[in-house]
Subunit: 213 residues, 2 copies
Amino acid sequence: MEPDAITSLKIPGSVVRRLPRYLTQAQHLRQEGVEWVSSLSLAETLGLTSSTVRQDLSHIDFQGVSKRGYSTAGLEGALARTLGVDHDITCVLVGAGNLGRALALHDEFGRQGFKIVGVFDSAPAVVGKKVGRFTVQGMTELAGVVREQKVEIGIISVPHEAAQPVADQLITAGVRGLLNLTTAHLLVPAEASVVDARVLASLRELAYGVKRR
Amino acid sequence: MEPDAITSLKIPGSVVRRLPRYLTQAQHLRQEGVEWVSSLSLAETLGLTSSTVRQDLSHIDFQGVSKRGYSTAGLEGALARTLGVDHDITCVLVGAGNLGRALALHDEFGRQGFKIVGVFDSAPAVVGKKVGRFTVQGMTELAGVVREQKVEIGIISVPHEAAQPVADQLITAGVRGLLNLTTAHLLVPAEASVVDARVLASLRELAYGVKRR
DNA sequence: ACAAAAATGTTAAAATTTTAACGTTAAACA
DNA sequence: TGTTTAACGTTAAAATTTTAACATTTTTGT
């Protein structure tokens, strides 16, 4: 099945960053038994305009229906396909500190298709310890696991000084995307992707928000 | 000391979202003993243009020096003041699941001035349990703690269906900013701020990134 | 003391993103 | 069966954001 020439060509970053929110809404609504949703209602619950919603959804391979809106199930499926989350994605997690362990234990990601297949850490004191169903492995085993299990995404939750070397190791081993939970800025080759989770940055952004009133 | 009329008037959101990254860089550089940094060098390490960096920093109350650039210490201080992170900010955390517990245990936030003063959960089985130095409290105690300790920020890491009611309770109790770790979209009065941590959304954004190549 | 040059702050243009406007489609109902 | 109308998809305008260009400043070196 050939992907649609227009819709698959390249979705602007501003739009890609909103697609996950539409997906979440579509999921929630469908789970609540709602079958149809309009651009206006999506806009209101997400704090956008209906124009933006329609403009955004025009980038995915899915059509609304006049007078009804969008089928929540159809929208959910189309968004999942567009984002590439309509199938499981294998991940490894590097850095078994508090944050890393929490993510490994947080089954919601697994339910959403992000399957962690290994947890790694460089500290000998941590290697061998259990984190939920995982046994923490040493960094020497990382490349092998990535190759054997065709791991696509690496989640980095190490101290920020260690982040770049870990990123390099992951990319060299064959991972194509990095979720960066550190405050470091990661440099990767053009064919790889990085998304920063920005947890501390979000808190700081919030500090600015609460200050000015 | 009157805040500068121009610089404090309102910094565009696009800029505010980058200020924490400059702050992080300035901190890292100063800790490494680097005293000066240019807009070009900042731009290169953050993946921006030097123009954007200079434009962004023109919003804060701080001047660079011709031929030298920006003093890392000065920049760090000015950014911290602009964002409002030059003093401690009290936070409470609601939802002592895996993610919540990890954040409570992650001392980096505390070192950066975000002081958690209480951890709350609605599940009777969890209330009374220890999370690091905290004893999980019931929701009935939330309002009292927020008022007595003048808590400014609430961190929400509950199941998404519970997020809005928890947000309402926090706002009613007097919190002025919310860090939302759930996938719910939170509605709050105009005088309050919400920042979404977008962890799952980031993974999904990454899925799109790894798909298209 | 003067000239050269590196890097800022600022102005203005370019690019992108968001919003509004509106023609079109198809469901609902008389 | 025809009319009404809600809501889409699309075009174009408005607003915002990013980038380029350059005049200005100030350090450095001769």
